[in-house]
């Protein structure tokens, strides 16, 4: 398994990376930590003509907390966010989910934004972004725009990013709301069979599920318990349109959504 041939561009400024993207569009791909893209290249599921390496741009490697928002630049590695001293106070859900994101040996290279750009439906960071209602900051040679997580993910490894755009950063609302996270995988650090995140809302709870539908999916529930909660979770589990695959059956996935979902909702609402 070796990648197909490509030109390798080492960008020194953001403008250079955007200029190449603008000229080459879908033939060019941004590479940051490479922990999602490199397997795609090795398996030739992706065959870009140009790779643009953005890891030598210092302006992208910042984590900033400002006015209730934590902004994570495109060059921030998952291990760096996990080691960020304010993580526990500012982004509790990310602090819970990051240890499940790959392994120590891949978090040391892989970036937060790279995982979100890859948009694997089982990945933890897209799920966290969706659960918290974060935003993706896109930029191109011509414009900048922000897209809410719910409008960014568009399907299995598909997003609404345009070919000439790259993710400059992602931002998460920082807060102290109660939240909970749980995942079931064949091996700790593998892609989730089902991962769930729950966050308290003003009048109930938001439950987000990864690994079942073709993108992370969230639903807001009012305060429910007992059979009313079970019925609501069952309806949600069926709406996710689970499929059988080599890792698990659709029925097992629905079971996990119902069981983990109930535990997390109760944990957050108690």
């Amino acid at each position: 398994m070796k990648p197909a041939a490509f030109d390798y561009v080492r960008a020194e400024h953001l403008d250079e990376a955007l200029d190449v993207l603008n000229r080459e569009g879908s033939d060019a791909r941004i590479i940051a930590g490479g922990q999602s893209l490199m397997p795609m290249l090795n398996m030739r599921l992706a065959k870009p003509r140009t790779l643009i390496d953005i890891m030598r741009l210092p302006e992208l490697s910042r984590i900033e907390r400002k006015a209730g928002t934590v902004t994570v630049g495109a060059g921030v590695r998952q291990a760096s966010l996990l080691d960020w001293p304010e993580l526990g106070q500012s982004l509790r859900l990310a602090a819970m989910a990051l240890p499940w994101t790959g392994h120590a040996q891949t978090r040391s290279r892989g970036t937060v934004c790279g995982s979100i750009a890859h948009a694997d439906p089982s990945a933890e960071l897209p799920l966290v972004l969706r659960a918290l209602g974060g935003e993706v900051h896109l930029c191109s040679a011509r414009a900048r725009r922000r897209v809410a997580a719910k409008d960014f993910f568009a399907g299995m490894m598909a997003t609404t990013r345009a070919d000439e755009e790259m993710i400059e950063a992602v931002s998460f609302p920082a807060d102290q709301r109660l939240c909970a996270f749980r995942e079931v995988a064949r091996r700790h650090g593998d892609f989730a069979i089902v991962a769930c995140a729950a966050v308290a809302t003003t009048d109930g709870v938001r439950l987000a599920v990864g690994g079942v539908a073709d993108m992370p999916t969230a639903r807001d529930f009012p305060r429910l318990d007992g059979s009313a909660l079970d019925d609501a979770l069952n309806a949600f589990a069926y709406e996710l349109d689970a499929r059988d695959d080599v890792h698990a059956t659709a029925r097992y996935r629905r079971d996990l959504v119902r069981m983990i979902g109930r535990d997390l909702v109760r944990e957050v609402l108690q």
Partner: protein, 173 residues
């Protein structure tokens, strides 16, 4: 900005186990193949080539990395450590390697180079790990013949020996 063209070889200068090293690679060449075929450092093993098995784990600028998920051109200017750098001399094993040997923590040895490199970096940052931390680190590696029990035992023994060495150095000073 530099553009390294496909189909051409580009020179790469880096530090390998403390010594300056140079080679040439096309942009698409994986670091695993570069180390083994261009540099001749065959201690780094190639398993799954998509980052899952951990056999090719090395150390780049002090952090663990899958060599199969790294391009050779990306290590230009970096400090790379591989399993060849663990032994203090050709006829002696490092503390971690000796603990692996004593505890029968390897049989076929295919996964060993990667596991040693993960543990080497980890024990430097966490000199007193508990078993759970070692097992969590080992989730990033697949061993299909020895099993993890002797590997965990060897890691804990090496950690104890290393901290013992450190405290002895301090008391002698």
């Amino acid at each position: 900005m530099s553009r390294l063209l496909a189909g051409q070889r580009h020179s790469i200068h880096f530090t390998l186990n403390g010594r300056p090293c140079a080679g040439e690679a096309e942009p698409r060449m994986l670091l695993t193949d570069f180390l083994r075929h261009q540099i001749g450092a065959t201690g780094t093993h190639v398993g799954c080539e998509h980052g899952v098995c951990g056999a090719c784990t090395i150390d780049i600028d002090g952090k663990p990395a899958r060599a199969c998920l790294t391009l050779a051109v990306q290590i230009d200017g970096c400090k790379v450590r591989t399993v060849e750098g663990l032994a203090p001399s050709a006829d002696r094993l490092g503390i971690l390697q000796a603990a692996f040997k004593r505890n029968h923590a390897l049989q076929c040895g295919f996964c060993t180079a990667g596991i040693l490199m993960s543990l080497d970096g980890f024990l430097r940052e966490h000199p007193r790990p508990d078993e759970a931390a070692i097992r969590d680190l080992l989730t990033g590696h697949l061993c299909r013949c020895t099993g993890y029990t002797p590997i965990v035992r060897a890691a804990l023994e090496a950690a104890a020996e290393m901290t013992d060495d450190l405290s002895r150095e301090k008391s002698d000073a």
